[in-house]
């Protein structure tokens, strides 16, 4: 199964969700700004990388975890992915998860300041602070995703 966490620019919420999924960020307990800023993908993606799923790693079940930026074209982008997967007979291989509703205004403001205005020194910590405030929702989302992922055939065979 390919799990795709998608958001606007694949720079903040999807990155953190993927790290939570993969266990490189804890699913319980505090997370500080420095930890978030230390993530290799946090606040890094630029518009040329939108629409390209970025591989983050494999989880303990063998699922591949990706992050994806869809800009403001979430609905059309999801239709494109699902229709193509359906035609290829692989619609049960993709699990899409929108992380954008889990984050609040502060992350969006930080992202805008950093990516659109180019003021990374202000925007990046602001976005990280917003993520920390939204961490409970992001963790819920990731936990729900993991709970609802179908068991892979290799795991089933075990």
């Amino acid at each position: 199964m390919k799990v795709i966490y998608h958001c606007y620019g694949r720079a903040h919420s999807s990155v953190v969700a993927a790290h939570l999924h993969l266990g490189s960020l804890p699913m319980a307990g505090p997370v500080n700004i420095r930890q978030l800023l230390g993530l290799a993908e946090f606040d890094r993606a630029d518009p040329s990388q939108w629409g390209i799923p970025h591989f983050m790693g494999r989880d303990e079940q063998g699922n591949e975890v990706y992050i994806l930026g869809l800009n403001s074209q979430t609905a059309a982008g999801l239709r494109a992915i699902t229709s193509l997967a359906w035609y290829l007979g692989k619609n049960d291989e993709v699990f899409l998860c929108n992380t954008l509703p889990a984050v609040g205004l502060l992350t969006r403001l930080g992202g805008f300041t950093s990516k659109k205005l180019g003021l990374t020194t202000i925007g990046r910590p602001l976005a990280a602070l917003g993520i920390i405030l939204s961490l409970r929702r992001l963790r819920h989302l990731v936990a729900w995703t993991k709970r609802n992922l179908p068991v892979s055939k290799t795991e089933e065979a075990k």
Binding site: K2, W50, G51, L70, Q73, A76, R79, A80, Y87
Partner: protein, 140 residues
Amino acid sequence: MKIKRIIYHWSGRGPVAPLAAALHLGLVEPVPSGTAARKITRKLAGGIPFGQGAGRERGTLIFLGTGESGEEVYLLPRGKEGKLLLTLVRETARLLGEDPETYYFIDCELRTGRPPRSQELFRRVEELVLAVKGELLRGL
């Protein structure tokens, strides 16, 4: 042999890509010379799939049929700014184990321009489809 996928994409407004796909698949008979432009428009818009446009389906890949050489013909209403969607389709195909080189994206609006009359549109789309089929034979 790998299946080639021809994706005729357009903004979703008007019949240009649906007409190209229909011509490609032989769903539309060539129009006899001298037919009035208005008559062509009505006939085409009413008689081909998504001939009235497909703005609401933006992003959806629509399979229309298989061509003479076994190529699959699709429509993709991509909206005004379609670069992200085209990248997404190509990269999703790669992610799902497909060879993205077998996906041919034909920008129908770019390649036909903005014709003033529907008879002119028909001629330009016919030329476009002939060119695509020629490219397909040569291996694009």
